[in-house]
């Protein structure tokens, strides 16, 4: 049997693009608020083949979130579909089917019924719909995961805004413009974890 995964670890399968960065920050902040720990393929150093590193990360995480909202055609001149997210989702589904007690995966989308058009084999899987907004990501994280003591979505949004407002300073300090760089990701995690440790009132329950 493979080693047990980290029970709090969540593999984030998201697009590394400029338009997605607010949602990326919302995922990081929101997961820490729920006592979970996000992991990103870019955080793993080393010279091993990228696909092997990603698969190793998936296996070490108890959960994974696959955001398919940016599956679209890339910009000219080479107009091709973006296959990385579905490829990693496929690897994850295989792993979870082999070891169902060790991994649970979730699909996230921006619009209802988009998934049925882009990947009809996933019919029967209810995606979490975030409407392309940070608030939507935080709301759906609260719907997907529960803890005995839950933060309110407005409280999570406050923390999201704080981290988002500091992104440029973090990028500048790390000498990069890429928010998905390892050093930036780790600092975003550190900030989010610190904020998550603050005592917050619980939100209204539905």
């Amino acid at each position: 049997m493979p080693p047990l995964p980290d029970p709090n670890a969540v593999f984030l399968n998201v697009p590394y693009d400029e338009e997605f960065k607010s949602l990326y920050i919302a995922y990081i902040v929101g997961l820490y608020q729920l006592g979970l720990v996000p992991h990103l393929a870019s955080e793993i150093p080393g010279g091993d083949r990228r696909l092997n590193r990603i698969f190793g990360l998936i296996k070490s995480c108890r959960y994974s979130i696959h955001d398919l909202s940016r599956i679209e055609l890339s910009a000219a001149p080479l107009i091709v579909p973006r296959f990385n997210m579905p490829l990693e989702l496929g690897m994850t589904i295989t792993w979870a089917n082999l070891h169902p007690s060790r991994h649970t995966w979730f699909v996230w989308e921006s619009e209802p019924y988009r998934l049925q058009r882009s990947a009809s084999d996933l019919n029967g899987t209810d995606p979490y719909i975030h409407n392309g907004t940070p608030e939507g990501v935080l709301r759906e994280l609260s719907n997907a995961f529960r803890r005995d003591r839950m933060p309110s979505v407005p409280g999570m949004l406050d923390d999201y805004r704080f981290v988002d407002n500091n992104l440029n300073a973090i990028l500048y300090k790390n000498g990069t413009r890429n928010p998905y760089d390892r050093s930036v990701f780790l600092e975003l995690c550190w900030l989010s974890k610190n904020l998550a440790d603050l005592i917050r009132p619980a939100g209204p329950t539905a």
Binding site: T104, R146, S152, D158, W190, N194, L195, P201
Partner: protein, 65 residues
């Protein structure tokens, strides 16, 4: 209907995570200053009244509307 996953694993501590973060001490200090500044603004958030609507009242409101 989809059921949320109830997480029972204990929350990780900052010390546990810091082994993974590997951020320099100087940088942590700078980031900590940012967090402290944010914390200073928190009281108004914690004191903000929460509007809790009981399910019964919510149903009545919905049926009245």
């Amino acid at each position: 209907m989809r059921k949320p996953i109830h997480i029972t694993a204990p929350r990780p501590t900052l010390e546990e995570l810091e082994k993974h973060f590997r951020i320099s001490k100087a940088r942590k200090k700078e980031l900590q200053a940012l967090v402290d500044e944010f914390k200073a603004q928190l009281p108004h958030i914690e004191e903000a009244p929460l509007t809790l609507i009981e399910p019964e009242k919510r149903r009545k409101r919905a049926s009245a509307a």
